[in-house]
Amino acid sequence: MFKDLDPILHSQLRLAVMSLLISVKEAEFTFLKEKTNATAGNLSVQIQKLKDAGYIDVIKQFKDNYPQTICKITSGGVHAFDLYVKNLQAYLSVK
């Protein structure tokens, strides 16, 4: 029996964001937007969902009078991502 893939991660943009964040210490919203080619609105919504799931931390602050949003993956997020990849590998190796 295969475990279901985590529905929070099994989404194109959320998975892309998590894959980026797992490889770096932290990233600005603009970096994520640039690398995923997503719209700001859609990215904001998906980031909020990841935050609500406890997979990422979002720090909102001001830098030189401009708002700045920094995202970093949490240990829960690392664990969830690890599990997602393992389940994905198990699925693909049998398929």
Binding site: L5, S11, Q12, A16, V24, A27, N42, L92
Partner: protein, 228 residues
């Protein structure tokens, strides 16, 4: 970008693509190594020529270089405190390098101070070569950049050979020789130390720096990722 149902293959593709993109952020352009390397190389050669042709005081070019480095250090401090430029992304390696850079420069200051308080300059520069090798090895290992790993060992080999300059150039004891002869022999030995130092920075900084820069530019050229 619209959300759509993902197949497992597509998921895997996204993960690979994004991790690859993030990896490219960690790629160094090598410019720091190139500038630092060429600066050290030129000053070493100028000092060599200065001793050979007796233009000015032996330490002149190193003093000018030190003054420039100190000014640059103050500029960095100013930029850090007053013109804070945040990076769009912080990687673990960039964080490690920022901290190690501080340690590297503190150690350089230790060696420079020791040269000014009794350690013979010839030996001090060999210690610097040893330090360069250590930093180059960390850099090469952290970024999995083989040219730097190889360069670190070459740099150490040059430094090790440099320790025996005294035994290769006029292998005599200086204790009982007249002062002007001692000076002449010491200067000739120091000339060789400068050549070893130049060769070490050529192998340790300049060549790997240019290789890193070439690789970085190639990645930039081919790095047109389609949106996910």
């Amino acid at each position: 970008m619209e959300e759509k149902k993902l197949s497992e293959q597509e998921s895997l593709h996204i993960i690979q693509q994004m991790i690859q993109t993030a990896k490219q952020e960690q790629k160094d352009d090598g410019k720091g190594w190139i500038v630092w390397g060429w600066a050290l190389f030129i000053v070493s050669l100028l000092t060599y020529l200065n001793i050979r042709f007796g233009w000015y005081d032996v330490a002149l070019f190193w003093n000018i270089f030190a003054a420039i480095v100190v000014l640059y250090f103050f500029y960095l401090l100013f930029r850090f405190f007053f013109i804070k430029k945040s990076k769009k992304v912080k990687t673990y390696t960039s964080d490690l390098f920022d901290k190690l850079n501080v340690g590297f420069f503190i150690f350089i200051i230790f060696i420079i101070l020791s040269i000014n308080t009794g350690v013979p300059p010839g030996k001090g520069f060999i210690l610097l070569i040893g330090l360069y090798g250590f930093w180059i090895l960390i850099y090469g290992t952290a970024l999995n950049f083989k040219p730097s790993v190889i360069a670190a060992y070459i740099t150490w080999a040059i430094g090790l050979a440099g320790l025996f300059i005294d035994r290769l150039i006029h292998p005599v004891k200086l204790d009982n020789l007249p002062g002007d002869v001692v000076n002449a022999i010491s200067l000739e030995r120091f000339q060789w130390v400068m050549l070893f130092h130049a060769f070490a920075v050529l192998c340790g900084y300049i060549i790997p720096g240019h290789i890193a820069n070439k690789e970085f530019n190639n990645i930039k050229k081919g790095n047109i990722l389609p949106g996910v």
